[in-house]
């Protein structure tokens, strides 16, 4: 698999660049997921975020997820870029593009990929709230913020 398909970047991300990696003559659908920095979480205001990664392992793990996707949806092509460093509100944190001959596989593979990223890719998000900082981390977003707040 082309290693350029799975990348970390300290520079701002551009959706079209990721789409361009998966376009080919036999695809009839491309889905993109764009993860952006949210300002309000459960009533708390985020000022900025910092993403840190264990970079070589993170790239390897993204490529592994790509292999999983190709096994489950054999006709798809996938590219993932994740941002690192300091991000402001509405900045793009991650882009996933999946191309496929037909749309269903492209939708499904894209959603699967984001779930797997949250489960297993060694990337961490630090929240800079109005009233302090906090490393977030409990894999599933639904529980992570609540758990962190209890501790």
């Amino acid at each position: 698999m082309n290693s350029n398909l799975f990348k970390l970047s300290r520079e701002p991300l551009h959706v079209q660049e990721v789409i361009d990696k998966v376009v080919h003559r036999n695809c009839g659908a491309i889905t993109t997921f764009v993860g952006t920095v949210r300002e309000m979480t459960a009533g708390k205001k985020t000022l900025q975020l910092e993403y840190q990664a264990y970079e070589p392992m993170a790239v390897k793990t993204l490529a592994k997820i790509g292999e999983e996707v190709q096994t489950k949806w054999p006709d798809t092509t996938i590219a993932i870029t994740h941002r690192l460093g300091t991000l402001g509100i509405s900045d793009i944190a991650v882009i996933i593009a999946v191309s496929s001959p037909h749309r269903k596989a492209a939708y499904e593979a894209n959603e699967y990929t984001m779930e797997r990223i949250k489960e297993m890719v060694p990337i961490w998000k630090k929240e800079f709230w109005e009233d302090g900082t906090q490393w977030i981390g409990d894999q599933l977003e639904e529980t992570s913020y609540e758990e962190e707040e209890r501790s």
Partner: protein
């Protein structure tokens, strides 16, 4: 020597990005205990561990030259 890479909350608590430890022939569990005993770090019980960029179990033995990374719960995306 074993290189130990630290990230996120663990890195902030220890105040360093990496440690060196003479732990060849010992287990990851023993390494975790040593880090907990010698640095102001919260429990590593729930922390996953990678050895040479592959996830490893607490019982796995380390060997000379290994690079260990403690992987606190991830939050990418």
């Amino acid at each position: 020597m074993i290189q130990v890479l630290l990230f996120a909350r663990i890195q902030d608590e220890v105040g360093q990005e990496r440690l060196e430890a003479d732990f060849a022939g010992k287990s990851i569990k023993e390494l975790k205990r040593w880090v907990e005993d010698n640095y102001a770090v919260s429990s590593l019980t729930r922390t996953m561990t990678a050895v040479n960029e592959e996830f490893a179990a607490d019982e796995d033995q380390l060997k000379e030259g290994d690079t260990v990374a403690f992987i606190p719960p991830v939050s990418g995306g």
